[in-house]
Amino acid sequence: MGELTVKVRGIDFSYGSEKALKNINMEADAGEITGIIGPNAAGKSTLLKCIAGMLNLDQGSITINGGKVRELDKDRLSKRVSFLPQDTSTRAVLPVIEAVLIGKVHSLSWNVKNREVEEAWKMLEKLGIDNLAERHLNELSGGQKQMVNIAQSLVRKPNVFLLDEPTTNLDLQHQLEVLDLIKIMTIEEKIATIVSSHDLNQVTRYADKLVVLNGGSVYTTGEPESVLTTDMMKTVYRVNSRIDNGAGNIPRVIPISSTEKEKEMKRKIEDLKSKSEDIEG
């Protein structure tokens, strides 16, 4: 286990009168990926934004390497934390090399220093996308754009990397490539990476630890094999499922049916089947 970097202690957050997070406690370690899972509106994105210092907490505290997020000024915080939101569908007419440079927006001046260009270039090389350097963002595919976003985030050398559903809208090949890359960079650069995801099997494969959110509260937290249970799936996701242990003893969720409308749906399907048989008969 790496050194402890992010500590979330008893935080509450509300959008107006609506409580989005209630008494959240969690930790994320350097060199590890912490996965945040939970159904829609569980508070995954809100929690990430709170850690990024983008939202003001009602109560509780978040510390990064001992320093309270609330007390850090925006410049210092942004040097430590990099937040990659879910929607990054930009159509900016901007060359990739400059898009990566923007990762260092606080130190850039009108005349960009050679050292800064060199750093951006090295990051592109590390991610294997230096061939895209001169292309404009609006000409790239979703997968390529996400690679550029990751380069842009990592060129800042953050201690904490927050990613909100980073593989949404990507095809399977790019999903795996992006997550492999995040895993490698997390270990190499000793970053505390926190990833929210709807894809349970994928996040389980890459995360060292999972935090399950339900209705704005932490339902459970721990290693994937202890967290992913049929009970958790039933209570949090309202889904009947089976958990298989796949290759490398990584648990895999096989969803079977919704617990909410199982009977109603089955009845409708049976009705439709018998109707079509009558017509054919």
Binding site: K79, D87, S89, L94, D130
Partner: protein
């Protein structure tokens, strides 16, 4: 293997060349504008009148008191509208935004009309300055109106556009009311003001415009990378540590002031602030380091070309410039759009 500086150097070289080409075009069209008028002057006559002591006195008077102020006004107002349009499109993330989107020009139009119809100003001033001073005062009211409305909702771009539209319609209605009650002469004067004109350019007005244009440009240049980051989306920019709300409010005030000064002296000249930035974007992309100077130059070229047009349409008569900005710019703009592959803005 290629080196970082080599790749970035090539990108910069290409864009710098395009900006240089725009600058050359701007100089050429500026000299053309100065040379055209009721008396045609050669480049040699212009240069000798400007730089030599013992040159033709009549030429000196024509150039120093009429031609140069008018052409410089076209240059500076074009640059101001180009810059203001570029930043409005950037901070509102909207290709249809222009310096007039937030109702600043509508405020100026109402202020000018009030001075023309009633002969009174909101600030105690009389004489020739009555109309521009009142126009500027009401443009500022519009500007601060949007500022306070936008601040309530944390300067979201949607709120800014909606607040701007509300202010735009408010001043347009008030202007229509004034026009309804105005005498025939006053009505003609209002319409003429709204069409825009460079004829009342003076060195004093040029100085005032320069005083606003220079610090605004420096402020935008200082924040150039942060402004570029806005094109990645608000959340992404915030995730990179940019104070999006503060940046947007600061930029909005700066470009509204610039627009207010420009339209107060020349009337509401359309098209330049909308299309200048599009031309710049197509040529050099959206990195503000290149986008900003290219938008200023494209704005200047469009307004200078229109100014040339106003003098040659009917020889001896200067046509209202607001009519010609679109007519001269559209062929060039359409040419650029039609020769490009794919879109460059849609998300």
């Amino acid at each position: 293997m290629r080196k970082a500086e080599e790749v970035y150097g090539e990108i910069k070289k290409h864009k710098k060349f395009l900006i240089f080409a725009l600058a050359v075009g701007c100089v050429v069209i500026f000299l053309t504008d100065v040379s055209i008028g009721s008396a045609w002057l050669s480049i040699r006559e212009i240069l000798s009148a400007v730089f030599l002591q013992g040159s033709n006195h009549m030429n000196k008077v024509i150039i120093w008191t009429i031609r140069l102020p008018m052409s410089l006004m076209a240059l500076l107002v074009g640059a101001s509208l180009g810059i203001a349009g570029a930043e409005m499109q950037t901070m509102l993330d909207n290709p249809l935004a222009s310096p007039y989107t937030l109702g600043v020009a509508a405020g100026a139009g109402f202020g000018a009309a009030l001075a023309i119809v009633l002969g009174v100003s909101a600030v105690p001033i009389v004489g020739e300055a009555l109309v521009p001073v009142n126009a500027f005062f009401f443009a500022l009211i519009a500007c601060f109106g949007i500022y306070f409305l936008a601040k309530i909702k944390k300067a979201s771009k949607e709120m800014m556009v909606l607040a701007g539209i509300a202010i735009l319609f408010l001043f347009q209605s008030l202007l229509a009311l004034l026009q309804y009650f105005a005498s025939e002469d006053a009505l003609r004067a209002i319409v003429f003001w709204l069409m825009g004109s460079l004829q009342k350019a003076t060195w004093f007005k040029l100085g005032l415009l320069g005083i606003v244009l220079i610090p605004v440009s420096l402020l935008l240049a200082k924040n150039s990378w942060k402004l570029t980051s806005l094109r990645l989306g608000d959340e992404r920019a915030e995730g990179l540590g940019v104070d999006v709300e503060g940046l947007r409010l600061k930029t909005m005030i700066a470009v509204s002031l610039l627009t207010a000064v420009a339209v107060s002296f020349t009337g509401t000249i359309g098209f330049v602030g909308l299309v200048g930035p599009h031309i710049a974007r197509m040529l050099v992309g959206e990195s503000q380091k290149f986008f900003l100077p290219a938008s200023a130059l494209a704005g200047s070229i469009l307004l200078l070309a229109a100014s040339v047009g106003t003098k040659v349409v009917i020889p001896g008569i200067i046509f209202p410039i607001g009519i010609l900005t679109s007519l001269t710019g559209i062929p060039f703009f359409l040419g650029l759009i039609l020769t490009r592959r794919g879109g460059y803005w849609e998300s």
